[in-house]
Symmetry: C2
Subunit: 370 residues, 2 copies
C-alpha cells in the first residue's frame, strides 16, 4: 500500500509502533512499519546502546525516536529531596496508602538505584540535544518526534540539516498551526482514548480537524487504534498512517511484567481512565486501588508536573516489587478492552493489515452496490 | 449504496437523523435517509399532530420514532413541588446562581405553562405504550428506538407483531448481549463524544466492540459523526450506517434559538463537556456560566435523575427567556467544533455523501498502490 507516510520514509505499511521496548521497535521495523523508540529518562550512554542494538537487528530499515522533551519542566528535584520539597500532606497521603495496604519499603540499594534512575526527570532542551547527537550517529533514524509541545528551534534546524524529518504529538487542532509554522514535517493527532498524556477530544472528531488544520502537512492517527478496522477508519478520516502504542504492551516483546499484562488482559475499556495521579498532567492509565485512593473523598489534588511524578515514583516501584497486582498501574489507552491474551508484534501487524484490507474491500462493495 | 440498513428499511443512504424537530425528520427522510423523531415529554395528542405532519410531507417514505423511556424513573414530582421535595441547599444554590446573574423570574403564566409541560417528566412504560399506540396508526414508521435501556418486553412484542423493527442505544459492549437476547433488531452504538447522555468509551474503540458483541445484529454508529469522512470511518469499523444528532442543531430546520446556534458556531470541541447538571445522568452539553457554577469549589453534587431535571428546568427556561447567552446551554456532541454557520439538513446530507464517496475512493487507491 501507499500513503504519503510510506513514501516519505520508504515503508511497506504506514504503521508506526511507539514503544519503550527495543524489541517492539525492531519487530515493527522488520515487518515493514516504523518502530519508534520512546526515550523517557534515558542517558546518552544508554541510548547509544539501545540504538546500536536496534541497528544490528533491522537490516538498514528506517526507524524513529520519540523524545519526551517538555519545553518547561518547572522546578526539578531529586528523588531523595522528596520529603523536603513536596507538601507534607501529599507525602503523608501516599505513605498512608502504602502503609494501609501493607506494602513494604524498598531495600536500601534498590531505593538508591531508583533515585539514580529517577534523576532522568531532569529533562531539558539541553539534555534533549545530547540525545539528538547520539541519534545522529545512527543513520537509520529518519524521524524524531517531540512528544510534549513544540521542539526547540535549534533542534528542528539541526535535524533538518541532517536530512531527518521532525514530528510532534498534538491533541487539539488549535496547536496545529504553531507546529506547522515551526517547520514540523509530520503531526501525530492523538485522541483522548490514547494511553498516557492525552487531551479531551476523541479521535473520531479530532483527526479530521487536525488533518484540515495542518494541510498540507501529513497527519498520523493516534489513540484507539489496535486493529485493522481502526486503521481503515484512520485513513478514511484523512490520516496518512497510524501511530499505535498501547497495543504493543500486550505482546511478548513488551517491557511489562507478566503481572501487569495479566491485569491488562482482564480489563475493559472503561478501566483505562484519565487521571493526573502518575505525572501531574492528565494521563490515561489503568484504574487500580492506587488511583481509587486518589478518587476517594478527602484525597488531595495531584501536584503539577514534575512534582507529582517525584511524589509517586517510589510508591509505584514499591507496589511493583511487592507484586500487589490490585495496586499496579500503567499507562494504557481504551483499546486495553480488546487485549485479551499475549500476542506478538508481528502478529498484531499481520492481523491489522488483513482486517484493514477486508474493511476497505467491504467499503468499496457497499459504495458500488445499487 | 447498500448496507444491511438500507436493505432493512428500503433507504437510499444509511443515514439516520435524530431530532426533536419534525422539519429535520422530514428533510432527512426526503433525502433518502431515515429521520428519527425524538419524543421526550410529549403527550399522545401532541405526538399524533407531529406524526400527521411528517406523514404529509414525506411521500410514503419510512421514518422512525425514538422514545426516551427509562425503565425506572424513581420518584417523580411536579415542578410546583420543587421547593418541597428537593434538598433545600440544592434549591438555594440554583436560585443563587440566577440571582447573582440578575436573571429575572418567569412571568406567572409562563411559569404555569412550563409546569404543565414539565409534567412530561412522568415518563413510564405505561406512558410509552400510549405513544406506541399512536405510532402504530402511522404505517410509515418502520423503527422504534428505546434511548435508555432495554424496552419493555410487551412493547417489543407488539412492535414485532405489527412488522416494525426495534432499536436501542447502548454505550458499552457489555449491554449488547442483553439487548440481543431481548430481540432488538438494530443496536445504536453511541460513543462518549456524543451529545446528551453518553458513556465513557469513545466511538473509535466502542463501535467495533459492539459490532462484534452484537453480531449478527446490525449496528449503527453514533457519536462524533457530522461529515462524510466520519461516515466512511463508521462503515470501516463495521457499522451498517450512521446515527447523527448534534449536526442537525446547526441547520435552519433546527429547533434551537438563534442565540443558542450562535453559541454553538463559536464553540470548540473542548467546549462540549460531560456533566450531570441538566438531568442527573452523565450528559454531554455546551459549557456555560451555568455549568461552570456547578464546577466551582463548594458547589453541591448534582441530584440523581429525575430530581436534577426538576431542579434546573425552570432555571434553564429563565436563562433562555432573559437571552443571557453566556448562561445558555444545550446538549451537543464534540462535533460542535465543526459547526461554524447555519446549514440545511439536505446540504449536510449531500456534503456527507460527497465526502464519504471521496474518502472510500482514496482508501481504495491507497490500498491498491504499490
Amino acid at each position: 500500500m501507499k500513503t504519503r507516510m510510506t513514501e516519505m520514509f520508504g515503508l511497506d505499511v504506514p504503521i508506526f509502533a511507539f514503544s519503550h521496548c527495543r524489541d517492539v521497535v525492531v519487530e515493527a521495523t522488520r515487518a515493514g512499519g516504523m518502530g519508534v523508540l520512546g526515550t523517557t529518562r534515558v542517558t546518552p550512554e544508554q541510548l547509544e546502546m539501545e540504538l546500536k542494538w536496534i541497528d544490528d537487528h533491522t537490516d538498514g530499515r528506517p526507524y524513529a525516536l520519540d523524545l519526551a522533551l517538555p519545553q518547561k519542566m518547572g522546578e526539578v528535584h531529586m528523588l531523595h529531596e522528596r520529603e523536603t520539597t513536596l507538601p507534607p500532606e501529599h507525602v503523608a497521603f501516599v505513605d498512608r496508602i502504602l502503609r494501609d495496604a501493607g506494602i513494604p519499603e524498598l531495600p536500601a540499594h534498590e531505593r538508591e538505584q531508583l533515585a539514580e534512575y529517577a534523576s532522568g526527570y531532569r529533562l531539558t532542551a539541553q539534555g534533549g540535544m545530547e540525545l539528538i547527537e547520539v541519534a545522529l550517529r545512527h543513520p537509520q533514524i529518519k524521524l524524531v518526534v517531540s512528544a510534549l509541545g513544540i521542539a526547540p528551534k535549534e533542534m528542528i534546524d539541526l535535524l533538518h540539516a541532517k536530512g531527518l524529518k521532525v514530528g510532534a504529538l498534538i491533541g487539539s487542532a488549535k496547536h496545529a498551526k504553531n507546529q506547522v509554522d515551526a517547520g514540523i514535517d509530520v503531526l501525530i493527532a492523538q485522541g483522548m482514548e490514547a494511553g498516557a498524556h492525552s487531551g479531551s477530544i476523541t479521535s473520531m472528531v479530532l483527526w479530521p480537524q487536525i488533518v484540515d488544520a495542518a494541510a498540507p502537512v501529513p497527519v498520523l492517527a493516534a489513540g484507539g487504534i489496535g486493529r485493522g478496522r481502526q486503521m481503515a477508519a484512520a485513513l478514511a478520516l484523512g490520516c496518512e498512517g497510524v501511530w499505535c502504542g498501547s497495543i504493543w504492551l500486550g505482546t511478548r516483546e513488551s517491557e511489562l511484567s507478566p503481572d501487569m499484562k495479566e491485569r491488562f488482559f482482564a480489563a475493559g475499556s472503561e478501566d483505562a481512565i484519565q487521571r493526573r495521579v502518575f505525572t501531574g498532567k492528565q494521563c490515561r492509565m489503568l484504574r487500580s486501588a492506587f488511583t481509587d485512593a486518589w478518587d476517594a473523598p478527602g484525597a488531595p489534588t495531584p501536584l503539577p508536573m514534575p512534582q507529582q511524578g517525584l511524589l509517586v515514583t517510589e510508591a509505584r516501584a514499591r507496589i511493583e516489587r511487592a507484586r500487589r497486582k490490585e495496586y499496579m498501574g500503567y499507562y494504557v489507552g481504551q483499546i486495553v478492552g480488546d487485549m485479551k491474551e499475549e500476542t506478538s508484534t508481528k502478529g498484531v501487524i499481520y492481523d491489522m493489515l488483513t482486517e484493514y484490507s477486508d474493511a476497505v474491500e467491504k467499503l468499496q462493495q457497499q459504495m458500488e452496490a445499487e
